[in-house]
Symmetry: C2
């Protein structure tokens, strides 16, 4: 029996925050895929094993404990596996990440990207977010040798972004070189590298959907 069942779409995005932790601690987990997820998600709240709105949803099989919401899942796993470190700073970074994922998908694809909005995002917003984390790194808050939730979260955020959307890597190099070094090191840790290689073999994208196509069109120079 695996340790956990993770219900999420077959994409990196929010799922990787959970997968980075699971892979790093050497947990065994299964991902039953979109059909099983939709059956749970579309049930009435009273019929759901644990009422939840949207994935990721985690079932800790040994504890028979269900968790909804990426921040709650990550903080639970961090505490359980001794990775929480400073839990308030970890949760702050998880919350930053959640904000950034909403910005890069224009709030779950509510709007598609156009050139002016993309320029505002890449000229103003990302060059503000990245130095915030760089300033924390400059204050010595992170340790790639002994990664906890803070480092794993930064890697799931920034490495996944520049790995899946390589056109954004120069922005990270320019605005947050310490963070870039840190997240590359975390992403290369054995358990995490193996997990990522599986996604590479599947040719997985980033956030999926029309909004990923819109992102890629911007990076390719479209309107």
């Amino acid at each position: 029996m695996p340790d956990y069942t993770l219900y999420y779409w077959p994409i990196p995005f929010r799922g990787h925050f959970v997968r980075y932790v699971l892979a790093h601690v050497g947990a065994e987990w299964e991902e039953p895929g979109a059909e099983a997820l939709l059956a749970l998600k579309d049930a009435t709240p009273a019929d759901q094993p644990y009422p939840f709105m949207a994935p990721p949803l985690l079932h800790d099989l040994r504890a028979d404990r269900w968790l909804s919401q990426m921040p709650a899942i990550v903080m639970y796993l961090g505490r359980k596996h001794g990775l929480a470190g400073d839990p308030d700073e970890a949760l702050r970074l998880v919350s930053d990440a959640a904000d950034i994922l909403l910005e890069i998908t224009r709030h779950h694809g509510d709007q598609m990207w156009d050139r002016p909005a993309w320029e505002a995002f890449t000229d103003t917003r990302l060059p503000r977010w990245m130095p915030l984390h760089e300033a924390l790194a400059a204050r010595g808050r992170f340790d790639a040798e002994k990664p906890g939730l803070a480092e794993l979260t930064l890697a799931a955020l920034w490495h996944t972004m520049v790995d899946r959307l390589p056109g954004l890597r120069p922005l990270l190099s320019a605005n947050a070189p310490r963070v870039e070094t840190l997240v590359d090191a975390v992403a290369a840790l054995p358990g995490i590298a193996t997990m990522r290689a599986g996604w590479d073999r599947q040719g997985a994208g980033y956030c999926g959907g029309q909004i990923e196509a819109s992102l890629r069109a911007m990076l390719a120079g479209g309107d």
Copy 2:
């Protein structure tokens, strides 16, 4: 000296999640207002006392500890003041609340409301969110007599919404009657009621800005 300085806009919205906890535990806090907040927010990350993107920002004056991001602030205060209860379920509700606040403001006012979007929100999204919390209430997860972070968070979310936007109360009554009873009881607790009365005297709105005007136009029956 107060216990805390809370940097936030002079509106309920995300600030009330912090204020509900502070008021309930009887903490003393000051809110220096928008000008002091902007001076911190607009500083370069290296010059900020603690690098952060957006309020709320909390300074625990006795511990000289800075916290950014509403979920991190609330979880810190909950742990410090013995209110965390089940921290994973509390954080799940805090995360739900953050999602709902983004939905009701269309992601920080990225778009204004129009009638079709408003109908989708009030016919589909809110009538999904509310029964999720009702289903948790039906499973006996909450206790208005001994409120912890979970109950305080639900009240800061749903009571604030239907108190500031009374046109939405019938939706809460219809979709989450147990939650309505719970949050009315929590909002009436002495420390919280006193805090809220101060905001009532100021005639404070809900989320502020053009998006609040857009919300109120929808509730008044506009296009």
